[in-house]
Symmetry: C2
Subunit: 325 residues, 2 copies
């Protein structure tokens, strides 16, 4: 039985959407016990379907480590605590990213051998494959040793998640050449080279992350955030322009009607709601950060991600690999 | 008369494409004197149309400051030197970015009051406007004072280039809140706030750069490179998926035929070839870095950018504004 704790108070869209996700998931998978955490009046509708854990408080979107220490009654804290106490194995929340990283780091602690936790997420590629990028925003500043640590976790994650043996791993940089990169990237490059790190292929420019042969791309959390959000913004711009193009004349509107089936698949590929969210790697527990504006479909993808991580025994494999390295 | 020096040897596509661009430009604008710099056998076809300056050597794509000091016969160096010697007012090259920044910094020197030169480029926005981003890659590492300097240059550039008085200027960061950002961004934020820097609106996440109310976004060169290349990659992914969608069935192919007129405008908006390249702000001369894989259309846009900069007296205004601040 998989035991998953759900913070139902975090999404901008309200707990109702997240509750729909839980109900839908329960109908599809029988081997899960859910702990639903949230305000009594919001979550009582799940009585009989989930273990209910009442929490009167909610972390704000700007709350960080300090508020995490203070707001002990917050739903996110209570959900994470269920994992820390061994009652659940995974936690999913759509609440504040900063709060989630702080809660997990404080309550779950880091896996032995891990210097910093990292947020990881799969991204779509032009050829239909996926690429795994980390850290996409758990850290504000990283040193070279952190990046090497992320490379280790990323390699384990990708080999299991993408089910692939020979992985191509790159460092995100401002040029493919060895001498390119920030001082931190240059140092990490040298460290990975000195280690003969399996699969390490060198530096990669941001433009090839989703259009090249990379399975894993490693970067600091700050650069990862800019890459992730910048790509989202570019895709938003492109979608808006595409909508305008289809609306521009009666012919293009007819064109849309004829071609929309082809576009359904495309939408599925680039729509972040299908990816559910990001996984915080390196803490003692499966921790999935769902998108802050999660609707039912998005939160269900996030729950599924947690379910897959338990199914694949991701945490066990990270522990074995990173500790033994 | 505007005097522009052209390095015709830099593009991956070969000098023939760049020569086409020069010929096309000459047919449209009469108030320009061009200095064509390159190998004799390649550029002699421009005899009578341009002042010819022969250069036997070419900078490689990986060449940096050291090679710039050594390869005195390289076409890029000779083109930049024409500006340094006062024979030309602007230089355009599609060669190595690192080489171009080094050549310009060494030969043209920095404008008084400028700490570091910065590459600036306009980006399209969802609403049809443009946003100006700097530095998109002239620097590998920046401190807070550099970012404040970029903000000053960016403000002058945008007010002239976008022809707009009340500008919204932001710092690129990993969150909109004041306390978010790398240590350098946090310090720059405080400095701009202390100065009551006109138009400074705070931090901006990468996802809103092309979808928000920013006219100028300031960032370090490393982050700027990741933003620029990441966005290019995302748009490439999206274009590929769109092509697949239109090809997916006979209906969608018909849909494409009906709607393609609407897509022509969209292509124009996102196609980097229409933007020509980036401008290196802060050196004593107009310096335009065209895309490394410039074809005729792209290089002509780059020449036009140099022409506009001269027309708008950009350098004079940067000198006045930054020195007097």
């Amino acid at each position: 039985m998989k035991r998953i704790a759900l913070d139902l108070m975090g999404s901008d869209k309200g707990p109702e959407e997240l509750i729909k996700a839980v109900e839908s998931f329960i109908n599809k998978y029988q081997d899960v016990t859910f702990f639903a955490v949230g305000k009594k009046e919001k979550i009582d509708c799940l009585k009989g379907k989930c273990e209910l854990v009442y929490a009167d408080d909610v972390l704000g979107m700007e709350d960080g480590a300090l508020e995490v220490m203070r707001k002990k009654e917050a739903s996110m804290l209570k959900a994470v605590s269920l994992v820390a106490e061994g009652k659940a194995d995974a936690v999913v929340s759509a609440g504040s990213t900063g709060g989630f990283i702080s809660s997990c780091s404080i309550k779950l602690r880091l896996v032995k051998g891990v210097e910093r936790a990292a947020l990881v997420s799969p991204f779509p590629k032009s050829n239909g494959d996926k690429v795994v990028l980390l850290d996409i925003g758990a850290n504000n500043e990283n040193n070279a040793s952190h990046l090497v640590n992320f490379a280790k976790m990323g390699r384990v994650f990708a080999s299991i998640y993408l089910d692939k043996k020979d992985l191509n791993l790159y460092l995100l940089s401002n040029g493919a050449e060895e001498k390119k990169g920030s001082p931190v990237v240059k140092e990490a490059h040298q460290m990975l080279k000195d280690k003969n790190f399996a699969g390490f292929k060198g530096n990669m420019e941001a433009r090839y992350v989703m259009n090249g042969d990379a399975d894993v791309v490693v970067c600091g959390g700050y650069e990862g955030n800019i890459f992730l959000k910048g790509s989202e913004g570019a895709i938003k711009l492109f979608s808006n322009l595409m909508k305008d193009a289809f609306k521009s004349s009666i012919f293009s509107k007819m064109g849309y009607l004829l071609s929309r089936k082809g576009f359904a698949k495309m939408k599925q590929t680039v729509d972040y709601k299908n990816y559910g969210g990001a996984i915080l790697l390196g803490v003692n527990g499966v921790a999935v950060k769902a998108h802050g504006s999660s609707d039912a479909r998005c939160f269900e993808s996030a729950i599924k991600l947690a379910y897959q991580m338990l199914d694949l025994e991701m945490l066990k494999k990270i522990k074995e690999d990173v500790a033994n390295d």
